[in-house]
Symmetry: C2
Subunit: 138 residues, 2 copies
């Protein structure tokens, strides 16, 4: 996944590459989320995409993010008990989740998954480590 995609045509092509029909709304949402490495909740995407004006409805934001995730264009992160985060970085990696701020921070466990617990960001303490493997019918 090439990040920092801005151009509309480029975005539309990218969507098609992932088997997603490019629509105005989808390009807008992709433009927001793929613009840089970040973790955004659906509500945050909603806010950014509709700066003032009203371009995309709530239902479409939720549906689109789910569609993007299903197609492998973005990644869903289940770490905050109150909301799902979406991010453009699809390579396998893991997160620090700050329970105080709700902030997510990436960390890579290149080798073989995680055979060590990486150091916590300075000033931070590891409050808990969760490994969750999601499985479904084969």
């Amino acid at each position: 996944m090439e990040l920092y995609v801005r151009n509309t045509t480029e975005l539309a092509n990218l969507l098609r590459d992932y088997g997603i029909t490019a629509t105005l709304q989808r390009v807008e949402i992709a433009g927001i989320l793929l613009s840089k490495k970040q973790h955004l909740s659906a509500e945050q995407v909603m806010g950014k995409v509709n700066q003032g004006r009203s371009i995309v409805s709530k239902a479409t934001v939720y549906n689109t993010l789910r569609l993007f995730a299903k197609k492998g264009l973005v990644k869903e992160v289940i770490a905050d008990p109150t909301k799902i985060f979406y991010e453009p970085k699809t390579e396998s990696h893991h997160h620090f989740y700050n329970v105080d701020t709700g902030e997510l921070t990436d960390f890579n466990a290149d080798l073989k998954m995680t055979d060590i617990i990486p150091d916590a960001p300075k000033g931070m303490m590891v409050k808990g480590v969760d490994v969750t493997i999601r499985v479904g019918a084969a």
Copy 2:
């Protein structure tokens, strides 16, 4: 944590060991959750503790589970995007999360965290692996 605790006096003592004032409601909730290895949502605890009759209020169930977790008597599992699960098994371990059924299954990564992704339960496919380390102010 000794599982299968049933006796009321035993439960009350256990709560005190964890710095929790033993009340009728707390003992009832502990009796449910500590009776065996399981992963229960707050709503499920609510249902089990108030079989027919009405013994413990919703607010108390939620507050008590959070208190138990804070005191280290039970473990919170953030894996399902819609609810938190609570379990009596406090030793470090990880979970399979079935996205179809929402079911949680334990697995131990004894060595050093997880340097391997364990095999999925038969008939199941690994849909995603998440390692989440929760951090807070040191």
